[in-house]
């Protein structure tokens, strides 16, 4: 485990311990359950966001993709009455497509990722309003989505009872969204560490030009990275729609920033080429634990935002410190040789 991940895991453990001692009812099964159900989709978004950052980009549009995919699901289910088992793949495809479009803008129009995805943020959000079934068919405002294929995502498993642990301690029920998060984590982590694509991602993020010269299809790698971010946004959207039994036009607004914060806290370097899936996922749960803990302590929300900002700053500072050390280590042997 990289030292950044170890530091994050330690910080997470310390945070949990601190709140368990200080915040009333923090150390309870229901808090763990809330953390899992309320932040698994944030973790998925953060893992998705890590890919554009790994190739030295950023994706500001993933919150808007969440909104767009949510509304597509809403329309397909409530207006067109498409069965849920068809909606699931369509939603994932739409998210990946929206993400891939970001990649195309970055690669082929040579736009700065920040500008390209800022533009698509506005465009995707606008499109969400344009296709909103809530505006096309007013009665749907108060109609929940009831398709079991979609609402089934919001299911809880009594894992404690299966394991026989419930007789000993009060165990949290595990939401399906958390299991989905673990699956996404496993797939993406294997993709990053054990496949050619993963090596290409790190090489491209480390140095575009060197990667190109080494024969890597840099453009394809970058487009795929953005498509993965879009795909993760679609998964998050499905989880949120299941949780709320509806989609609103504003669904996911501002979540890109939370995802970026979680990724950076999770040790994904904004300079590109450094990071993995463990950090962003844990970073999301760290932010969640802090929000829940501070709310339980009765700390006002603006103070919570200040604290979140401070943690983000500290994470960026720590990342900077590590990268300076890395460079020093890299340059040390060469100076010794001369």
């Amino acid at each position: 485990m990289r030292s950044a991940s170890a530091a994050l895991a330690l910080f997470f453990a310390a945070t949990i311990l601190l709140f368990s001692l200080s915040a009333p009812r923090f150390a309870s099964a229901s808090t763990v359950e809330n953390l899992m159900s309320g932040f698994s989709f944030v973790a998925i978004l953060a893992m998705g966001q890590a890919f554009p950052i790994l190739v030295r980009g950023i994706d500001l549009s993933i919150g808007a993709i969440v909104g767009l995919v949510g509304m597509i699901v809403f329309d397909l289910s409530l207006i067109l009455h498409v069965p849920g088992y068809l909606i699931l793949p369509l939603a994932l495809f739409a998210g990946a497509l929206a993400g891939a479009l970001n990649g195309v803008l970055v690669v082929h129009l040579r736009l700065q990722p920040f500008i390209a995805t800022l533009a698509t943020l506005a465009a995707y959000r606008g499109l969400t309003y344009a296709i909103s079934g809530r505006q096309l068919v007013p009665g749907l405002t108060t109609t929940p989505i009831r398709d079991p294929w979609l609402t089934g995502i919001e299911t809880y498993f009594d894992v404690g009872r299966w394991l026989g642990l419930s007789r000993l301690v009060n165990m949290p029920w595990v939401p399906l969204s958390f299991v989905i998060m673990l699956a996404v984590f496993a797939v993406l982590q294997v993709l990053l560490t054990s496949t050619r694509f993963g090596r290409d991602i790190y090489a491209t993020g480390g140095n575009h030009e060197a990667a190109r010269l080494a024969g890597i299809r840099v453009n394809g790698v970058i487009i795929t990275a953005y498509a993965l971010a879009g795909l993760c946004a679609a998964i998050a959207a499905l989880i949120m729609v299941a949780r709320f039994t509806t989609a609103t036009e504003a669904l996911g607004a501002g979540m890109e920033l939370t995802a970026i914060a979680a990724a950076v806290i999770g040790g994904v370097s904004l300079a590109g080429g450094v990071g993995a899936m463990f950090g962003p996922a844990l970073g999301a749960f760290l932010l969640g634990a802090i929000l829940i803990g501070l709310t339980l302590q009765g700390v006002p929300q603006f103070v919570q935002q200040i604290i979140t900002g401070a943690i983000l700053l500290a994470a960026v500072g720590y990342d900077r410190l590590l990268s300076v050390r890395r460079q020093r280590r890299l340059s040390a042997p060469s100076t010794a040789a001369t």
Partner: protein, 341 residues
């Protein structure tokens, strides 16, 4: 004149008194739920001596209305000294509101006051709270999941009366524009439908020529109304679905020298709107005593928290519509400083 004023005040007080009666009625309904399970009223929960009841209000986002509710709620809960109360901010995001509800559930709250951002999206959380025995009281925006109580401004009938007053001010004919809220919220539909139905009923010759979204916002309302006026220079009336948008219309009318030529009505009755009416700028608004709305919700909450009434015990959700007045220059003076929010 003096006579008329006292009359107005008397009418105003009468509506308030009627409101109190409505509360009593709603209260009675609340505890005589014709469900199949017997309800033990007045049986205090088995709580240790000195236990404090936890309550919280999850607002939509900071605005004059939830701020005034919160003040009214605090006025009632504060002096009781056994109830803890806090105001939480939903940050205009459903996922934040849902997460806050779940946190309050695990905290063992007794009552949750909720101004849902969306009627459907918060319904699963309300169901969860009910399963945990927590009563939920919604303010202004109802949820599709039945819950303990809903306390709302009288959106539909109030808007009908606004239409009547506006038509009267316009002489029963002309064109009006609606500065509307974004779709997807029940109160938008109630306040719009009430207005349109009110025009049909009282002033069928008045025509609605524009109905555009101005995001509840004063600045946005200025831009939208400028566009509408370009297409309809002979506009006779503007209805802002909240006061902020109506005041944006006043700004435009002032700038273009149209004050007095266009009847402008708002909805809510916040202090800025009442002052604008007194200054002869805004024609009128639907005024609700929002402090009182908060106090009534808090009164119900006190009973729910301390009276041993289970959240699941309601076969039917109680519903309280707040009394209101259509405030115009003629009667705005009767709204006392302590009632202004």
């Amino acid at each position: 004149m003096q006579e008329e004023k006292t009359n107005d005040r008397r009418n105003f007080l009468k509506t308030i008194a009627l409101g109190s009666a409505a509360v009593a009625g709603a209260g009675a309904g609340m505890f005589s739920a014709p469900g199949d399970r017997p309800i033990a009223v007045g049986m205090p929960r088995a709580r240790a001596e000195g236990t404090r009841y936890k309550t919280a209000f999850i607002q939509w986002q900071p605005h004059t209305v939830p701020a005034a509710w919160s003040k009214g709620i605090e006025e009632v809960l504060g002096p009781q000294q056994i109830v803890d109360y806090e105001l939480l901010d939903g940050q205009n995001k459903v996922e934040v509101q849902v997460s806050l509800v779940e946190t309050l559930i695990s905290q063992g709250a007794s009552v949750i006051f909720l101004q849902p951002i969306d009627s459907v999206a918060l319904a699963p959380s309300i169901a969860k709270a009910k399963r945990a025995g927590i009563s939920v009281i919604t303010l202004n925006i109802d949820a599709t999941e039945p819950h303990a109580s809903h306390v709302e401004m009288n959106h539909y009938y109030g808007a009908m009366d606004i239409a009547k007053a506006m038509g009267d001010a316009m002489g029963g004919k002309g064109k009006v524009a609606i500065l509307n809220a974004p779709p997807g919220i029940i109160i938008r539909d109630q306040r719009t439908n009430g207005f349109v139905d009110g025009l049909k009923k009282h002033h069928p010759d008045i025509q609605v020529v524009a109905d555009q979204v101005a995001d509840w916002d004063r600045k946005k309302a200025q831009d939208v109304l400028n566009t509408i006026l370009a297409a309809n220079p002979d506009l006779g009336g503007v209805y802002g679905v909240n006061d902020s948008m109506a005041l944006g219309a006043v700004d435009v009318a002032k700038e273009k020298g149209l004050l007095g030529k266009i009847a402008i009505f708002g909805n809510d009755g916040e202090t800025a709107a009442l002052e604008s009416i007194e200054a002869g700028e805004l024609t009128g608004t639907q005024y609700t005593d929002v402090y009182q709305q908060g106090r009534l919700a808090a009164a119900a909450a006190t009973v729910l928290a301390t009276g041993g009434v289970e959240a699941g015990a309601f076969a039917q959700q109680s519903r309280l519509l707040m009394p209101y007045v259509i405030a115009t220059k003629a009667n705005v003076g009767s709204i006392q400083p302590s009632q202004r929010w």
